[in-house]
């Protein structure tokens, strides 16, 4: 059975700047992979590549063994193939209300009939969002905006969820709650690709880990062994812990 997502010798960057140099990585059904590395190692670029936001300049990105969108970046095809992405930062539509933000995704995923149920699940997950459902998203606090962009992907439980810096800007209690939810959807069969500075949380959640350094994957293996590797290799780059 083909992996849900497979990167083969992928290179990518922005204009004249290269961020990734020949990276190969695959995530199978139900698998969970933690991607760790120092700032500027290329983690976010790898996440963007894996969901179609950035097109590779060399190599191929395969979903279910097939190339998607013939080289042009087209994130919507990835989403429809079941690969969802929660980008880093406050990725919400600032001029739409909380409910409109959610409805945009849920209407496609669940249809008109399933929309109300999906909204309820999102508000159950983050009651704060329920209180502000008619508020314009741009006026939410930073943490609330994170909740909103997470609620979008967590409720959908896609086949593969790519999450970039989930915990950034969230209170520790909420972070725990988010990882608990991730554990639940993982148990329900969603594959995960987690990019995370909070290495401890990520390694605990995932089976497998990949270490990214200067645009190259330098180590892959079971998460349990990753701790020791990180101690020895990444201490000087400041990515440990």
């Amino acid at each position: 059975m083909a992996p849900i997502l497979e990167l083969r010798d992928v290179e990518a960057g922005y204009g004249p700047f290269r961020a990734l140099f020949g990276v190969s990585l695959s995530v199978g059904p139900g698998e969970s992979v933690a991607l760790v590395g120092a700032n500027g190692a290329g983690k976010t670029t790898l996440a963007r590549l894996s969901c179609g936001l950035v097109a590779p300049s060399a190599g191929t990105v395969l979903v279910d063994g097939e190339e998607v969108g013939s080289g042009r970046p087209s994130a919507w095809r990835f989403v429809r193939a079941g690969v969802a992405h929660a980008p880093e930062g406050r990725s919400v539509f600032a001029s739409l209300t909380v409910e409109e933000n959610l409805a945009l995704s849920f209407h496609r995923a669940f249809g008109r009939a399933g929309l109300a149920g999906a909204l309820d699940r999102a508000y159950e997950l983050f009651p704060r969002l329920g209180e502000r459902r008619t508020q314009v998203a741009g006026t939410l606090s930073g943490g609330e905006q994170r909740m909103l962009s997470l609620a979008r992907v967590l409720v959908e439980s896609p086949r593969l969820l790519i999450a970039d810096e989930l915990s950034l800007g969230l209170a520790p209690m909420i972070v725990d709650q988010v990882f608990e939810t991730l554990g639940r959807i993982r148990a329900a069969g969603t594959a995960l690709l987690i990019v995370e500075q909070q290495v401890g949380h990520a390694l605990e959640l995932c089976d497998r880990a990949a270490v990214l350094e200067h645009g190259l994957i330098t180590w892959q293996g079971p998460s349990k062994e990753a701790g020791a590797v990180l101690e020895s290799r990444l201490f000087e780059t400041g990515a440990a812990r």
Binding site: A84, S91, V92, F93, L104, R108
Partner: protein
């Protein structure tokens, strides 16, 4: 009829009278809001789109004798959406994540190029006095008089009904449908929309088809109101409608409807009462004559400047804008030293050759054209300062130039002042006007600043020029706004050669000033502000001072250039040289060729003055082929293709926002840099 009853009856009649034109403004304003909401484009080309459908309808129905319904279908429901789809695919898709300001520039280019392209392609010329018969049967000749004070014709009623129905339908579209929601989402962030699983390309294609259809429909409905079909009338209508759209902050459809109607009522009421009052109070008379045509622009300017809420909202930025590659640096900064040396030598050589050819060989016509090119380059440097350096779009550079021209005209005419001194005075007056204007409008920034300056330009055009202390009044009508050439000691600049030298000297001085400004504190401050206003403020940089200086300097340069142009032509020639629409042309040509460098402005000046005779008329080719007899049959090409090419330039600008020349230079220098480095690497 007397007393209070008469007043209220007149007021009521005024309001009814104002409703049909109000519905016209509302219709255009609705379309404007629709485009802005669904594509994020401040679409000044809306008038051009409406014009094309109106012209197509006219051609199909009146000239070809098609039935009305067929003409309507072809013009508004086939041609119009098709144009929208082509524009989206060729241009605006690539601009989705560009700033609102660069979208505005492209729309400006299209507003000039689209009507011309249609006229050329369809061999259409507006026939004066041939009115369009509207789609409504007997639209202009069957009247209804519901209140016994004002008679509406069928066309007017249809327009009012369509405006109301469009407001309701479109508001429902945005409120209750997913496609409405998706269109708003795409404007904010196409990539985030894609992450929601929605095809952003298809969504924005739909948005453009929809808004273009609306433009076409509006055009066909409105056209019977004009005496003859002119695209400039449609453009002016759009500027007026922007006032109505601004009432809804460009996003509210019901408010745009109310804004349009309100504008119509206001104008009608003024028209009703001002003549009456000015009978008793003669001081009102000049206002009565000038206010009515300018009222929409005054209202627009007042709304923008006085309504604090406008311009306060920052443009909602795309949270995923980091996906785009960063803007590249100026090519000159990344050059190999040898290449820099070579470029300079080549530049000096090229100028020397062209200069000597012009000096020794050129006839009167070519001397005239080259001088025009040099002077236009001076004027274009004002765009380099305000747009290239300060990142602000000013659409009233023509007005500043006109101020320079009128100042020397007035000074020479009334006080017999030396024209060179008057030119400096004109630059000073323009700088003062620019500084004063910048105080209220700079707060706005972005597209709002552009619109406020456009309103100012139209206001100057409609009101100020008519005052005798500006445009010369009746004397100017009889004898023209004549301006003498300067005379300094033994040098008489009435000689074209001497005047060319003067223009070149001014160009060199202004270029040095602009470069000094760019490298100095003001320039660095402006660069910092362009990068991030918040970050600049956090290290203690004040935006206001640097921008006011930029505005004033830019106005002064434009004023000086305008004065020179007037001396050159020995006449101000306001409407051919400095009209509000001309200045739009200037902006696009400079920005498309490269607004950040002095060379960009000089090349734009050369393109403006020399492109048509040199390339289109085939003079260059004829010179190369030694004789006009050898020219291929397709030359000379009609001058109006210049406008179409100009539209192509706007399209290129969409792909290379740094400017065409800059883009070419960057590619070439990257290639030569690599070659030079490889050779150096191989040598040792």
């Amino acid at each position: 009829m007397s007393g209070a009853g008469g007043f209220f009856e007149d007021l009521f009649r005024g309001l009814l009278q104002g409703t049909p034109p109000g519905a016209v403004y509302a219709l255009v304003a609705l379309g404007f809001v629709l485009t802005y909401k669904t594509s994020g484009v401040f679409n000044l080309a809306f008038g051009a789109q409406a014009y094309i459908s109106a012209a197509m309808y006219f051609k199909a129905h009146t000239l070809w004798g098609w039935p009305k319904w067929a003409a309507l279908v072809v013009s508004a429901f086939v041609l119009a959406p098709l144009i929208g789809l082509v524009l989206e695919r060729l241009i605006f898709r690539h601009l989705r994540t560009a700033s609102a300001v660069s979208k505005l520039v492209v729309a400006l280019g299209l507003s000039v190029a689209l009507p011309e392209l249609f006229n050329q392609a369809a061999r259409f010329t507006a026939v004066a006095g041939r009115q369009i018969t509207g789609i409504i049967p007997d639209g202009a000749s069957v009247f209804y008089d519901p209140f016994g004070v004002y008679r509406f014709n069928r066309d007017e009623l249809a327009m009012m009904a369509v405006a109301l129905a469009a407001t309701l339908l479109l508001a429902a579209l945005f409120r209750f449908t997913m496609i409405g929601l998706a269109m708003r989402a795409v404007v904010e962030s196409p990539r985030m929309t894609e992450l929601s699983g929605i095809n952003a390309d298809r969504t924005s294609a739909f948005a453009w088809a929809l808004s273009s259809t609306f433009a076409g429909l509006a055009g066909v409905l409105i056209a019977p109101r004009f005496n003859s079909l002119l695209s400039t009338d449609f453009f002016t209508l759009v500027v007026i409608a922007v006032a109505a759209a601004a009432v809804g902050k460009l996003v509210s459809l019901p408010r745009a409807l109310l804004g349009g109607l309100g504008l119509g009522w206001l104008i009608a009421v003024f028209n009703t009462f001002l003549p009456r009052w000015s009978g008793d109070h003669t001081w009102l008379r000049p206002f009565q004559e000038n206010l009515t045509p300018s009222l929409p622009f005054v209202v627009l300017f007042a709304i923008l400047v006085l309504w604090r809420a406008i311009g306060r909202e920052r443009e909602a930025s795309d949270p995923l804008s980091g996906v785009d590659p960063p803007p590249p640096a100026l090519a000159a900064l990344a050059r190999h030293p040898k290449l820099t040396l070579f470029t300079r030598l080549f530049g000096v050589g090229f100028i020397a050759v062209v200069g000597s050819v012009v000096w020794f060989r050129a006839g009167v016509l070519w001397m005239h054209l080259v001088t025009t090119a040099v002077i236009m380059a001076v004027i274009y440097l004002s765009v380099t300062v305000i747009t290239g350096m300060a990142g602000q779009i000013s659409l009233c550079q023509g007005t500043f130039a006109a101020i320079g021209g009128f100042t020397i005209f007035q000074m020479a005419d009334r006080f017999n002042m030396s024209v060179l001194a008057a030119a400096l005075l004109g630059a000073g007056v323009a700088a003062a006007v620019g500084a004063v204007l910048s105080l209220p409008v700079l707060r706005l920034g972005g597209v709002w600043l552009a619109i406020a300056t456009l309103a100012f330009a139209f206001f100057f055009d409609a009101v100020m020029v008519k005052f005798s202390w500006v445009g010369g009044g009746t004397t100017a009508l009889l004898t023209g706004t004549r301006v003498p050439r300067p005379l300094v000691g033994p040098i008489d600049f009435a000689s074209d050669r001497a005047f060319l030298v003067l223009a070149v000297v001014v160009l060199v001085i202004v270029s040095v000033v602009v470069i000094q400004l760019r490298e100095g504190t003001v320039g660095r401050t402006l660069t910092a502000l362009r990068g991030s206003e918040v970050a600049a403020a956090s290290i203690g940089i004040s935006a206001a001072r640097a921008r006011i200086i930029a505005f004033a300097v830019s106005a002064a340069i434009a004023g000086l250039g305008g004065a020179l142009l007037s001396m050159h032509q020995q006449n101000v020639n306001y409407s051919t040289n400095f009209g509000p629409v001309n200045a739009l042309f200037w902006l696009v040509i400079v920005v498309a060729l490269g607004a950040r460098t002095v060379e960009g402005a000089i090349q734009a000046g050369a393109a403006f003055a020399l492109f048509e005779p040199l390339i289109l008329k085939g003079d260059l080719l004829a010179w190369i082929l030694r004789g006009e007899d050898h020219l291929p049959g397709l030359l000379p090409i009609s001058g109006s293709w210049r406008l179409v090419l100009f539209g192509m330039m706007a399209i290129q600008f969409a792909r290379h926002p740094e400017g065409l020349v800059e883009h070419g230079k960057r590619r070439a220098s990257a290639r030569i840099n690599r070659w030079l480095e490889a050779r150096e690497g191989a040598a040792p």
